[in-house]
Subunit: 327 residues, 2 copies
Amino acid sequence: MTHAADSLQESIERTGSIAVVGLDPRPNLLPPAVVRAALAVHGDTAEAVGHAFLAFNHGILSAVVGRCAAVKPQLACYEAYGLIGWSVYQETVAAAHRLGIPVIADGKRNDIGSTAEHYAQAFFGGTPGQSAAPGLNGTPLDNPSPVDWATVNGYLGSDGIAPFLGQASAGTGIFVLVKTSNASSGDLQDRELAGDAGSGHGTVAEAMARLVALWGATRIGSSGLSDVGAVVGATYPSQAKRLRELMPQAIFLVPGYGAQGGSAADALAGLRPDGTGVVVNNSRAILAAWQKSPALAWTDAARAALEAMNADLAQARTALFSGGGRA
Amino acid sequence: MTHAADSLQESIERTGSIAVVGLDPRPNLLPPAVVRAALAVHGDTAEAVGHAFLAFNHGILSAVVGRCAAVKPQLACYEAYGLIGWSVYQETVAAAHRLGIPVIADGKRNDIGSTAEHYAQAFFGGTPGQSAAPGLNGTPLDNPSPVDWATVNGYLGSDGIAPFLGQASAGTGIFVLVKTSNASSGDLQDRELAGDAGSGHGTVAEAMARLVALWGATRIGSSGLSDVGAVVGATYPSQAKRLRELMPQAIFLVPGYGAQGGSAADALAGLRPDGTGVVVNNSRAILAAWQKSPALAWTDAARAALEAMNADLAQARTALFSGGGRA
């Protein structure tokens, strides 16, 4: 099967976009027409939220298809609504796949190996049925909404990551949290590690980056990119450059562009010398674009915001490569 | 409202047990009678697994009620089964609460603050309804299965933890991963941090412990214990002693006893000088006790395994405190 990294690179080349659209629906981000329709049918219930989220996601997907590299549902936004939320998540993943859009499930899951295996099953498939009991010949159940990539947290080390790497070239990949975009990420991630005889070993984030490079070294696709990527926030561009040295073949999934303060140039700080290796997430500025463009239909506003993001990133990329700052 | 730490301590005193029963159902751990009943009704489907998991959890809960401090459903085991799994999880939480057993949701969630808030809602309540849209007067939705405690991963630092601390004395608490029980936990957690002028600052796990103490300092109940606890594996007892010094008021949730190799004395290494502050998880040895005791009904086997664990812990505790090793 095709490497996840090659599939994502192919999507980038096909759409001409390195944007990832974050599907993070929240009740207060939805346009009034969607809110009214949901409340009219369901009242002020979890069902109303589910109805609204699904209608909204379908609209966003129709607006962004062909113009972004991938979509990234944020599991927390769905999980907060229990069964209804999970149902919307599953239907959203299926809808994205029907449109040919790669899906990154953003759940930042982590556990010891024997447990992480079940998270990997939830994302990628292979969940055992009840006939997996001793003495029966179990076959895995169908997964109704397998994803292409999942975000994971590597605090537990190699054996907690291994299950997510289960099948080489399974067509799936992971993005491991390395340097996150939030203000407090330095509480742990920026701590300096002790070195030998005065030569520092870098930060906790750099140690994680070395692990990511190790985990991904045997999972390089024909694109030269690995199925083990890294989350590296746009809000710390100087760190991104250093982290790129440590993870030359990892795709960086970059949050923090836009609402969190990262510029296009910041978001691209981790580009590889050949100009590949970065995808940039944006959620709020696309989902809530209707708030700033009242003259447009909300789906048109989302599309325009994505196109503005694509143009912003393209311009910054041209500047980077023409300015002599890159090989 | 009562501090979560006080409620957990009260449960320990009421039951005379510091055991936490891990509710981690897996198809290959279930007794044949449960498996056959589920397959007969539902065939080899996800519904069969859901049927079996729920029947199994009800049986385990009936066997352990009054004999353990808390139960700890492992979310990965349920999440692998999608909507059916989540439904079983919710019903399991509700069933535990009907029996008066505190519930620790083991999901190891983590994200930036604005997203972590939704995980906190999923666990503890406060999820906004669709009437949270601008201009409407939203009230939070009911949470069908709020839990008492949730495990979280602190790699993202303070602002990712803050939402889980939302309401002081809300009756809820968190266990932050500090030193996990798995073999690879040292990949990151044991790395030494750089110190000032040769004096080391300890390991990454110790840095996390200092954060836990900081986050929990304003959330101490009348028991002297904090609503911000720590996950500290039984498999690294010497580290547990050091971590206790750094987190004097945190409750340690200790995995790794039994199947993973930690002894009762290892599991108790992080006890406070007054003998409080530790709860010890066990999953497999209780859930699959029927495999080793074919003469017993499976629920009786689970109860006997829990009672053996309680006796093992009590004996180790007596030895610790009578041997002069403790104040």
